[in-house]
Symmetry: C2
Subunit: 338 residues, 2 copies
DNA sequence: CTGTTAGCGCATTCAG
DNA sequence: CTGAATGCGCTAACAG
């Protein structure tokens, strides 16, 4: 391995001078800089980040903790995060928690060990709170993305306008004449699920529609079979059967549609569907799902930007909260007047 | 920061003993081990990986260099790689090259600096060869995945059976009665594109079908507009117009179908389409595309396994080549007899 | 503008 | 089974 000592010897300068050249510090004469740079190239020198981090306590890796890269929403988040990280000279460490607190906890331990400069975290659920807050005492900058934790007063966050967008989605259904609207939600221990549910409930109230406990369903945000829930919905007497379903994330919406299809229920003719987020449609030319689509790329990109600002200590002391508006698309899945 | 010295002092042992406990080395009495472990927990000690890597030259991070996580194939590859890495206690650094040699080169430099234990690389193209081979002298284990480089005699690789699967795809078309088969391919500087093209050509030859240069199209493997190529194809006099198209990756197939739709050409009625890889269909219940589907997860998972074996020096000296068979699915997009 | 000294936190080596 | 000494490659702090 080529070290700054090798460079220094060959350039007839001190290792410190080499270090200064590498770190582009001022106060180096052009002549020595050029000389040293030439030798760095010649010897194909690569700085040793471990040594750098050890002594300076400043690392160039950032940890991204999400639930699953395989979820198209988080795929794009990861891409946005990586793009911004690279721009600023940071490397991205990818962690999938699968909404599992133990995995998450393990990753957070690793993040501390690695000496990550900071982390972008989409918390698994409310149980994540304590572990994440424990990062404060390590002085590791954190930005929460997509999901937040309860009573967060210390971390920056980039979140969605869950309540507003949910309201718009529900109001769209109401305009279409729907009154019996079910919600198939993720775990209420996840902030986004809670906020979307609140948006749903407050909008019903606002429009004088009674809330029915039986229309509230809780599953999880992963891609799985929710035909049991759908069966329950279809077992209601026809006059009580929901005419519309608010599926609160992409996977829930798709699973719902799939389960309905299997039961020969037509969307939107028999039941309308609205969703929060969808999946990229490479195939269809006409989008089908009515959806509040989050700007996934920016969750990663802007989140990373806030994080880097904090790492490089150019951010205000107060934690910042960026609310990214979703874009609403009303397509076929809810395109029928009752 | 809590260090082994803090632990040592509190436990009344030497730092070295603490180090031994942490590294689970033998030759520690149960009593001292337990005592030390208790204090490690109490003080919430996290080993400093930079220091560890610096002194031992063994790091616990692995770099994954792919073209784009946003490509569903690589999304799954990344997930497989991450899963295996975590199992073995490694962290994954994610890099997207966008098929760009400069980005790739930058990432390889970073990988050296970071002191990555190894890397899983899907090379951008043939121009990647020299840079990747330069890693040999740093003694950093490398496993090539999906794509390979020319004259590779040193690196492990996990690749697809591109020729065989291409042959099966083409033979399927031939059985359906097709003789005029076009290929829309990625850059021939990418090994997979070359191999798929070779499979295509040799199969035509095998079946006594003449090769036409005009049926060979080259675009790239990213998701973009290839309507120009499709227009060219449609401008052939009708008796020369291909009745089938082999689109050599997921994005090319989808773009082709989209472009054909726009021109009101029906698939498979007017033109049949076969593809290498597709995208996950969360929505459709009936798969549409006829495809050789690669076991993406295993490209990551097995690739990571080989890499870790090499890092931990339990692999045979000779480079290994794992060829993962694709699964063939013949669906609607080619389901018509001529 | 450049050099010297010291030490980051840990594991390797050698002693005992 | 345990400990002491040493140095990994680099930069902060100070000196000149």
């Amino acid at each position: 391995m080529v070290t700054i000592y090798d460079i220094a010897k060959k350039a007839n300068v001190s290792p410190m001078t080499v270090s200064r050249v590498i770190n582009k510090s001022a106060n180096i004469s052009d002549k020595t800089r050029e000389k040293v740079e030439a030798i760095i190239k010649e010897l194909n020198y690569h700085p040793n980040n471990s040594a750098r981090t050890l002594v300076s306590k400043k690392s160039k890796t950032i940890t991204l903790i999400i639930t699953d890269v395989t979820n198209p929403f988080f795929t794009i988040v990861a891409r946005g995060a990586e793009d911004k990280a690279l721009q600023a000279g940071y490397q991205l460490i990818l962690c999938n928690t699968d909404e599992n607190n133990e995995k998450e906890s393990k990753y957070i331990d690793m993040l501390i060990s690695t000496g990550s400069a900071g982390a972008l975290i989409a918390p698994a659920n409310d149980n994540s709170t304590r572990k994440i807050k424990s990062l404060i005492k390590y002085d590791i900058p954190i930005v929460l993305i997509d999901r937040t934790i309860k009573n967060n007063t210390v971390f920056d966050q980039v979140v969605s306008d869950n309540d507003t967008s949910s309201r718009k989605l529900i109001e769209h259904l109401i305009e279409k004449g729907h009154r019996k609207i079910a919600i198939i939600n993720g775990p209420l221990t996840i902030s986004t699920a809670r906020e979307r549910q609140e948006g749903y409930l407050s909008t019903l109230k606002l429009h004088g529609i009674e809330k029915h406990e039986k229309y509230l369903f809780e599953s999880n945000f992963q891609y799985n079979d929710i035909s049991k829930i759908v069966s329950k919905i279809l077992k209601f007497p026809i006059e009580e059967r929901p005419t519309a379903i608010f599926a609160t994330n992409n996977f829930l919406a798709l699973s719902t549609i799939k389960a309905l299809k299997k039961k020969n229920i037509k969307v939107p003719d028999d039941i309308a569907i609205i969703s929060y987020d969808d999946v990229p449609s490479y195939t269809e030319d006409e989008p089908f799902l009515s959806v509040a689509r989050q700007p996934a790329y920016n969750f990663g990109y802007i989140g990373m930007q806030l994080l880097i600002e904090r790492i490089e200590e150019v951010a205000p002391k107060e934690p910042r909260k960026i609310v990214l508006p979703s874009e609403l698309y009303f397509n076929s899945s809810s395109d029928k007047n009752l």
